[in-house]
Amino acid sequence: MRVTIRLFAAHREIAGRASYAADMPEGSSVDDVFARACVDHPGLARACGSVAFALNAAHVDGAAPVADGDEVAFLPPTAGG
């Protein structure tokens, strides 16, 4: 199955791109997608102390299952306002 990975702020700068498509095995979780992104872009994992996850633009835990066509976003520490 194919998912879209979205990257923001420090993550986007490290990866050099804001989004890309990745083929993932059936049964993958959001954690699995993040692990895959960290392989694709070494440095992502240590870019910041913590990361939150979103699936199709809603906050989720890393254990959330992903499906074909999903959009998975990694959210570094935020600073709106």
Partner: protein, 139 residues
Amino acid sequence: MSSRFAISATPLDDRAPLAALEAEGAGGIVVFVGRVRARSRGREVLRLEYEAYAEMAERVFAQIGAEAGAKFELTDIAIHHRTGVLEPGEVSVVIATAAGHRAAAFDACRWAIDRLKQIAPIWKKEHFADGAVWVDERP
């Protein structure tokens, strides 16, 4: 009529959230206008760069609006946030709350900006004379 919950890549009109409010019956309206500070942690800020996961941020604003409606006696709430490069003095966020009584409007507005800082997928890069850094405001 502008949207109540919006991310904007163009300069914010600080009256737009007020115009978007359903203020029928409201006895008090509070508008918070957040602006870029010229100094941050003792250093001069040349500019700020705001980045958002826009489609999610607008949904989170609506969630904050729903939470505020449950916590306070509100008539309505609107939240607009800017993205892109901003210079000191430019408006980064505007929140308007309308309520039957002023206390709820003040309390909800204060709560909403704090909640936005907690959960909205928005990032801020501070540019100084000698470099730039993505801000981490989480405790």
